[in-house]
Symmetry: C2
Subunit: 374 residues, 2 copies
């Protein structure tokens, strides 16, 4: 295999793929980057035990030749060192792999890299004829940012460490819960299938970081043990978490004893300040008190650091008073960060029942948060 | 003590001081920030066992009132939490300390912070009537960046862990060496004293990070066990390293067997690439070879990763051929980064003698580097 390629473009795409390759692995082949060159261009594949990323570089981009194919073929290079080297080379780069001998040259610089004796890279499933759901990348990214933080951090219930994706005919529902809180986002989408699967949160965070325009359409499909995300010249394969995801529909309250409308930015800032005094796990408490219909008091206290008390205006209140509830400050702050709206609504159903937080004018996303018993 | 202060300005200055305060210390008082308020404004003092930073905030800045003094006095606050809190508060902030009870409030937010039972903060020496050397802050910063990296990283010879500053009537000479390499910068300056002292490199790195305009004049003086750096409203006290700094003047060669002029940027990039193959300590070797008067070959090799070879143009050569020398790649790269000039000169004096690297048209800075024996 041999080809000459434009440095800037190549370096940036190599970095995008290589960042998921481990530096060390029980499967040494995963520390490598697979390069294929042919009439359709250059394809880069890298991955770890949980996900793979493929980037395709056509021979021409916008009428300009970016790859000159000398000899088609494929080979493996050591991912991290190769990416570092490409970054440091000037102008156009010639890459040749013959019998696992790797030569990289540019201008008057020539380098030889040690290759892989064994180049058996994992086979990824074929993408032909799969059923897909299609939606803008930006919308999927937003849904991930609104849910992925709420997955369980411990492995005691493995299915809860992923985000549950329910594909329906006209929408995608993303749900995450660690059993103390639940986050959900619903995105309108065009689907040729109905299915559901659980994606590890790590794969979703890589998916969010893909350098793809927000408006580009992303196609999601399921193939054997993988979920496949295709967008422009990028494909991301993620393993699926096996098991049944708990039924969450019935957990979502639709009626509330008290519901309040608050300024989102002001509340976020207030909870952020209160969290300063709720840093220790035992005292991670932020207390909300509504004694009159126009004022909410936020308090937090740490024996070691100090205490904070502040009062915020309530924009609108329905239902009964008083409300006095204590939440985990960090969870509350994360829930509020998941909501992208100027005003937010919090619905309370008494001391022991979870509160529901959502934007004031739409129902596309919600956060459910259990109170702490104090 | 009580005063009201503008948030933005205060938050930024508090952060600047607090970043040198330790989170934990055998001297708990050092985890605190000392605040003094009086007719001259507010003074913030923070430090650790090696250095102290003082920031002064006048009552008015450019005709605008930034501090409203309610009651003069002084007190201690827990540095890290105080800085975090101030950052998160809106608009103007009221701070009151009475009998080590700290209250911080802003709009409808009120917080109490736990204080220090004992508020005996270390006494810093008075600044009145000291002899000083005066130079632009930007020039000192440049000299630090050209020398501080070359100090010894191990404590076996403590004086070598600092930068030697020689104050003469019309210039300041900064020298650092770890006995394998030596870096020197000379800055013209106005001095009312002649003295020399050794400053720990950590203090110099804090000094470089001070948020002070490059053109502002900085005054350096020595007071007892401290070097004192004064610039605008900031004072930095650094402890001095005790002991005799080795005589370095005689080490600097003035004549060379071979001297070459090279393009600085191209050489830096080449050595940077070569270092990719010299990462392991044992094989940290980058080899320079000059066989003809217009070409220099750079090579490096790692048994595990691979090898690199590149050829660069020599702009000018004086003296004898061939030159074949091996250097520590990392040291060579650091030396080259210390030189801010389009062309650089390297002077060689044979296999066992150090090479001297300097900008082509001025003698204000130089780097001396011992070759490796291979």
């Amino acid at each position: 295999m041999e080809f000459i390629i434009q440095k800037q473009l190549f370096s940036s795409l190599v970095s995008d793929v290589v960042k998921v390759c481990p530096s060390q692995s029980v499967l040494p082949i995963l520390t490598g980057l697979k390069i294929e060159a042919g009439e359709n261009g250059v394809t880069l594949t890298g991955g770890n035990t949980e996900l793979f990323i493929i980037k395709k570089i056509p021979l021409q981009v916008e009428g300009e030749t970016v790859v000159q194919l000398v000899e088609p073929g494929q080979g493996m290079v050591p991912a991290k060192y190769f990416a570092e080297l490409i970054k440091k080379l000037p102008s156009s780069i010639r890459i040749s792999i013959r019998e696992s001998k790797i030569t990289v040259s540019s201008e008057e610089i020539s380098t030889k890299l040690s290759g892989y004796a064994d180049d058996l890279y994992p086979e990824l499933p074929d993408l032909q004829g799969m059923q897909t759901i299609e939606l803008p990348f930006g919308k999927l990214k937003e849904a991930i940012s609104q849910t992925a933080f709420a997955v369980a951090k411990s492995d005691s219930k493995p299915v809860l460490t992923g985000v549950h994706m329910q594909v329906e005919r006209d929408r995608l529902i993303c749900t995450a819960t660690d059993s103390h809180r639940l986050a959900q986002a619903v995105i309108p989408a065009n689907s040729s299938m109905a299915d559901n699967f659980i994606i590890p949160s790590k794969a979703l965070s890589e998916l969010s970081n893909l350098k793809v325009p927000e408006t580009a359409l992303i196609r999601i499909s399921k193939n054997g043990q993988f979920a496949v995300f295709q967008c422009e010249n990028t494909v991301l394969y993620s393993i699926l978490l096996e098991g049944m995801y708990p039924k969450t529909e019935s957990l979502l309250p639709t009626e509330f004893l008290t519901s309040v409308v608050l300024d989102a930015e002001q509340l976020r800032s207030g909870i952020d300040r209160a969290c300063l005094f709720s840093g220790e796990w035992k005292h991670n408490n932020v207390r909300l008190e509504i004694l009159a219909s126009d004022r909410m008091k936020i308090t937090s206290k740490s024996t070691e650091i100090g205490e904070l008390e502040e009062v915020q205006n309530i924009l609108h209140l329905d239902g009964q008073l008083p409300v006095q509830m204590t939440f985990d400050g960090k969870y509350l702050l994360e829930a509020l960060k998941g909501i992208n709206s100027k005003k937010i609504v919090i619905g309370f159903n008494g001391l022991m029942k979870p509160a529901l937080i959502r934007p004031d004018k739409q129902h596309s996303t919600l956060q459910l948060l259990s109170p702490l018993r104090v």
